[in-house]
């Protein structure tokens, strides 16, 4: 293997890692704010993918229109589903487990509803961009470059929202101390609702960008969910910046690991890394021990 190919793999790892970061940050956002582990997060990714597919392929909308519409649609779908299920469980006896169990149920329901509605065939979306960038012998398709740029942009926007907007302050305050947030007038229930929607929307962004590379089918959420889980364990569960770093790290580690073994071991590498982190630093690689 030449150095160029190695470098190419690292870059590919970072690009896929940026998508893992988007998925992981959605899980982290929901967990960090409402302490709910969302096992249905992968299904928002899956549904986001179908949204894009129907808008861009079936209705022939240009991608720059189809994607935002799909993302907003997933945002509202996420809020609707949260309001119908999780909302009633939060704060009730045993809610930590009941919310995990409910999202497990949701995940199965959404998967199988998609199967009934959309069928089991694999769908895909054409590349948004053709062509390749070539620098010093390293070749990167523009499509992949676009993925990375969109991921960075989305992370940038989310960071801005969290740090600089009234909503972001409310989310962070609620995450840190729900009662204290209520005392200053922040309606926790509404913040939970919006946060859940935002996380679903982050999943939809990832789905939109990956749709041309990975096929969309009713089961495409589960492997993505598991990636997201590895990411949040690496980054520290509930930490937004941790999830970003964890996602990029996982992408690179997978890329190197696959070079050393073969692609069928890709998932095992991530999970093994996760279990190692749990043995060694259960609070995550970047966070501080609580």
């Amino acid at each position: 293997m030449t150095f160029t190919i190695f470098l190419e793999q690292i870059i590919n790892g970072l690009i896929i890692g940026s998508m893992y970061a988007l998925i992981g940050s959605g899980i982290a956002l929901v967990y960090g704010t409402m302490r709910v582990l969302n096992l249905a997060h992968g299904e928002f990714y899956m549904l986001g993918g179908y949204f894009v597919f129907f808008l861009a392929v079936t209705y022939g909308l240009p991608p720059f229109l189809a994607i935002p519409v799909a993302v907003v649609g997933t945002f509202f779908l996420g809020m609707l589903i949260q309001r119908m299920t999780i909302h009633y469980l939060l704060g009730k006896e045993g809610w930590m487990f009941s919310t995990i169990a409910a999202t497990l149920g949701l995940s199965i329901v959404l998967q199988n509803a998609a199967l009934l509605l959309f069928g089991e065939q694999f769908q895909s979306v054409p590349y948004y961009l053709d062509g390749m960038l070539e620098i010093a012998g390293i070749r990167i398709p523009y499509q992949r470059l676009l993925i990375f740029v969109v991921a960075l942009g989305t992370i940038g926007v989310m960071t801005f929202v969290l740090k600089k907007t009234r909503l972001g302050w409310a989310i962070r305050a609620t995450a840190q101390d729900r009662d204290a947030a209520a005392v200053v007038g922040i309606p926790a229930q509404r913040i939970y609702l919006i946060t859940f929607g935002l996380a679903a929307a982050l999943g939809a962004v990832a789905a939109a960008m990956l749709a041309p590379i990975y096929a969309i089918n009713p089961w495409s959420g589960l492997p993505i969910l598991l990636k997201g889980f590895v990411v949040v364990i690496l980054g520290g569960l509930g930490s937004f910046p941790g999830a970003i770093a964890g996602g990029l790290l996982l992408g690179v580690v997978e890329a190197i690991g696959v070079q050393l073994t073969s692609s069928e071991w890709r998932d095992v590498i991530g999970f093994a890394l996760m279990i190692a982190v749990i043995w060694w630093r259960p609070w995550g690689l970047f966070g501080k021990k609580a």
Binding site: W169, R172, Q176, D177, D179, V183, V184
Partner: protein, 238 residues
């Protein structure tokens, strides 16, 4: 006498099956300082939490400015004019001092005046301006209490609830906080606070309630209370 600002009537509060408050009634008038006294576990903290909607009232009624607020959710209290300093400060510890203070004006009704309020509280606590970018969780207990009080004042409350404002603070800081409570009060804000230390409390308050086992066992003006046999015997040891 003027209409009371806050009236609590026959309040009962249960945590699960355990009853914490039994038929508690009390009043606070506009511009007054009211002390809620009692030993640990007497329910004095729960009274304040129940007023703020943080502890569920099983039965009874809480009226504020003639309005029944018994079932009003906590996050709507600031809009009505009630604010609270929680026990042990409860700052947003990963956020900066400035962010914490500004969050006190989160509610739309307070947001418009945030700028002038900020000037006002920074005048009250000069340390807020000096340390505005410090992470709140890294400050000392006394400094954190000042941030917490400043945060609670940002919404321009007419009633301020303070849950154990002196807890874990040094005597020097306690004195400082007591001075601040008086200052806030002079500005027309009614204050209800709870405290274990009877002597500390009466110097400050117009009115007091003594709780034991979740019931009001004694109430009166500061002078009346300090003259009462129960207080003298049990709390002052004379």
């Amino acid at each position: 006498m003027s209409e009371p600002l806050l009236t609590v009537e026959n309040l009962n509060v249960l945590y699960g099956d355990y009853q914490v408050l039994w038929d508690v009634s009390m009043q606070a008038r506009a511009g007054e300082i009211v002390a809620v006294l009692g030993p640990n576990g007497s329910g004095k903290s729960t009274v304040l939490k129940a007023i703020m909607g943080l502890a569920p009232a099983k039965s009874g009624r809480i009226m504020f400015e003639g309005r029944d607020i018994t079932r009003v959710p906590t996050h709507e209290m600031v809009a009505l004019g009630i604010s609270m300093v929680l026990e042990r400060r409860r700052l947003f510890s990963a956020m900066t001092v400035r962010e914490n203070v500004l969050l006190g004006a989160y509610h739309r009704s307070a947001g418009k005046e945030a700028k002038s309020r900020l000037e006002w509280v920074e005048d009250l606590f000069p340390i807020l301006a000096e340390r505005r970018d410090q992470i709140a969780g890294r400050m000392s207990g006394g400094e954190q209490q000042m941030v917490a009080i400043a945060r609670s004042l940002m919404s321009k409350p007419r009633l301020l609830l303070m849950d154990e404002p002196y807890l874990g603070l040094s005597p020097r800081i306690v004195k400082q906080i007591a001075g601040i409570i008086q200052r806030i009060n002079q500005d027309g804000v009614a204050v209800i606070f709870n405290e274990q230390n009877v002597q500390l409390s009466f110097g400050l308050s117009n009115h007091g309630y003594l709780l034991e086992g979740g019931r009001v066992v004694l109430s009166g003006t500061g002078q009346e209370m300090i003259g009462s046999d129960v207080i003298r015997r049990v709390y002052l040891g004379v």
